[in-house]
């Protein structure tokens, strides 16, 4: 019999019951809550007179709506009334039910997918959900994690279970080594370019091969974060020493004897050598260059030294129409050099790239330089209060502000523009976030997804540049 994939193991280990209609009831070890998708779920509980099944399985923080400018005035001073109500509602719900929440000005507050692993709330081998599609991030720890809708948030609160169907298995193997200046973000953008935004639909993607084995936990989180942009709700990396070292010592991680017991259990959280995947994609790490998206879908991505695609080179009418529509929205010309795209704003942040390593890599590029005159605004938004604190301890905030970038409070910020950080219509933004959809960062805004180092270099140059040449200058 063939071996098992990590996904198979995680799924089977959490199976509570197989229903007659082919669906499965799986147990959820952890739920992460934020202010946007939880209010109706709590309200549903109250209306039905239900209590959460298990308080200690939940952890919450507001992130989407919080202002990232000076906010010591607290929740009451949030200007947008809808945002204020949502944040206050989360606070009230967590207080009422006794759920641990890091409130807006708590040092531990942050973007859900940054905060949860940072606290050790997500551990190898757990199942985790959150009312947010980028929950896939947490798969980097060898956890089965994915986004759910509001009615499922309520379902998990009430039953600690999820009704689900088993996914298929895909292995994305990136062999060899990455070139200097090529980062996890470039790897995942390249992967999405290869398999397409729907390529992973119905699959749990495991990222394997030497490139991921040698990648830091934070890098693995960046990669798993964007599995959803390839259509897969789940991204995974098998557990190894790097995983264990990351988890060890975190607040909610096991300690002492329990730690040893946990480590023994976690060692098996790998895909067996003879596991069979339904689909295998193999990529050579050395082939990956820094990536830039030019269009309005994450799969519309090319290397920084390439040109914007020309629809004349395509034969498929659907593709041609898609390219034309994207070119028009983005205000770009076919065959234009990517390095000629002028930028108006730069955003370094989001659950994809707002961890300390991301900030270090951006700071390294801007150190001693100045943001170009044509850049209206360059934001650096740390993923959590603790990331912010660490960055300040290392003096990164000074490096950014001296170069002319703004140093902000933690939150989702311009990733989706639910708070006041937004693009203006027609503005081009080099963004380290994960979605370049029309209007995502503000009505009419034009998003180009890149790594933190590439965004930093673009901020200095005022247009895209190959960060590998740039740092040599």
């Amino acid at each position: 019999m063939a071996g098992k994939t990590l996904y198979d193991k995680l799924f089977e280990a959490h199976l509570v019951r197989q229903n007659d209609d082919g669906s499965s009831l799986i147990y959820i070890d952890r739920q992460v809550l934020h202010e946007v998708t939880s209010p109706q779920a709590f309200e549903g509980l109250r209306l039905a007179g239900r209590q959460p099944w298990r308080i200690d399985a939940n952890i919450a923080t507001p992130d989407h709506n919080v202002p990232t400018t000076e906010r010591s005035g607290g929740v009451d001073e949030i200007v947008d009334p809808v945002s204020k109500i949502q944040v206050k509602t989360l606070d009230a719900n967590c207080d009422e039910f006794g759920i641990l929440e890091f409130k807006m000005n708590d040092q531990r507050q942050g973007i859900v997918h940054v905060m949860a692993p940072e606290q050790g709330a997500i551990l190898p081998g757990v199942t985790a959900v959150c009312g947010d599609s980028h929950t896939a991030t947490l798969g980097a720890l060898g956890a089965l994690a994915h986004g759910v809708g509001t009615s499922e948030v309520e379902h998990v609160l009430a039953t600690q279970c999820l009704i689900t169907k088993k996914m298929k298995n895909m292995l994305v193997r990136v062999d060899g080594e990455l070139g200097a200046g090529v980062t996890p973000k470039d790897v995942v953008l390249h992967v999405i370019g290869v398999i397409g935004t729907a390529g992973g639909t119905g699959y749990a993607i495991e990222f394997g091969g030497d490139v991921f084995r040698n990648m830091s936990m934070e890098g693995r989180m960046t990669v798993c974060n964007m599995a959803i942009e390839a259509g897969a709700r789940v991204g995974l990396v098998s557990v190894d020493q790097i995983t264990l070292d990351y988890v060890n010592g975190r607040t909610y991680a096991p300690k002492g004897e329990q730690w040893d017991q946990a480590v023994a259990a976690w060692k098996g959280l790998v895909s067996d050598d003879d596991a069979e995947f339904d689909e295998v994609v193999v990529i050579n790490g050395a082939d990956i260059a820094p990536q830039v998206t030019w269009g309005t879908s994450p799969e519309m991505v090319v290397s920084v030294n390439d040109t914007v695609p020309n629809p004349a080179n395509e034969s498929d009418q659907v593709k041609i129409d898609g390219i034309n529509r994207a070119l028009e929205y983005m205000g770009l010309q076919a065959d234009q050099n990517i390095t000629d795209i002028k930028l108006d704003r730069v955003f370094i942040g989001s659950c994809t790239n707002s961890r300390i390593e991301d900030l270090r890599s951006a700071a390294e590029v801007v150190k001693g330089r100045k943001v170009a005159d044509n850049i209206i605004q360059a934001l650096v938004v740390p993923g959590s209060g603790l990331v912010k604190e660490q960055a300040e301890a290392e003096g990164l905030d000074k490096i950014f502000t001296e170069a002319g970038l703004e140093w902000r409070e933690p939150g989702c910020s311009m990733c989706l523009a639910m708070n006041p950080d937004k693009l203006g219509a027609g503005e081009h933004c080099a963004s380290t976030s994960n979605r370049n959809f029309e209007g995502r960062q503000g009505f009419g805004g034009r998003t180009h997804l890149v790594s933190p180092a590439m965004a930093a270099a673009a901020a200095i140059a005022g247009h895209f540049v190959d960060v590998r040449d740039f740092v040599k200058q």
Partner: protein, 215 residues
């Protein structure tokens, strides 16, 4: 979800076809973070003479005295009589939320829009399809008799009029089961509470570090 077994209540005739979900609950009320509290804004544009705003206290607003639910004789309505294609348009679940919050448990019509029909069952509301002739007859009777009440017996699938006429209706077995027992998805899963607890007991032994850690 509330159980639905048998109920008797005042019926009110809403005499118009193609009542859409926008009419049931206008868009400005969807910004709410709640699933309850939509009752005061049910049929907002028909019910009030001014334009409703979210979070507004509706008690002082000018009422449209002509609107059926505003007439004193229909106070406390729990059965709504309606015409064909009730609940068409947007899929907003706020529509059944608003009806339920207002106190309506049953809507009787010759036909319903599908999404609305489905959404009703998820929210403890029973939509009943009767023939056009039967619905017509009910409209006549309710208008002729003040204090007209209908009894709806889900178990036996019949609507009983004050004069003792029994009108049989169809309902899907599974949905009937869920309504009778007050089961929504969550309710259904909670039927397996013992399985969940058994799983949990085992997990607590195997992975004690996953319990009582976050607080």
């Amino acid at each position: 979800m509330k159980k639905f077994t048998t109920m008797t209540g005042i019926a009110a005739p809403l005499d118009r076809a193609n009542v859409d979900t926008d009419m049931i609950i206008p868009k400005q009320f969807l910004k709410s973070i709640k699933r309850s509290g939509f009752g005061p804004n049910l049929f907002d544009e028909l019910r009030y003479l001014d334009e409703g705003q979210p979070d507004q206290d509706c008690s002082g607003r000018p009422l449209n005295e002509e609107f059926v639910l505003n007439k004193p004789r229909y106070k406390g309505t729990s059965v709504l009589l309606a015409r064909e294609n009730f609940g068409c348009g947007s899929s907003r679940e706020h529509a059944p939320w608003a009806l339920e919050d207002f106190g309506i448990r049953v809507v009787i019509a010759p036909s319903f829009a599908e999404i609305f029909f489905n959404n009703c069952f998820k929210n403890g509301l029973l939509p009943i399809v009767l023939s056009e002739a039967q619905v017509d007859q009910l409209f006549k009777e309710v208008e002729a008799n003040e204090g007209y009440e209908l009894t709806v017996d889900l178990e036996n699938q019949k609507v009983v009029t004050p004069s003792g006429d029994e009108l049989a209706f169809e309902v899907d077995d599974f949905r009937k089961h869920c309504l009778l027992n007050g089961l929504d998805d969550i309710g259904l899963t909670l039927q397996y509470a013992d399985d969940i607890k058994a799983y949990e007991a085992k997990a607590r032994q195997q992975s004690p570090w996953l319990f009582d850690a976050i607080k």
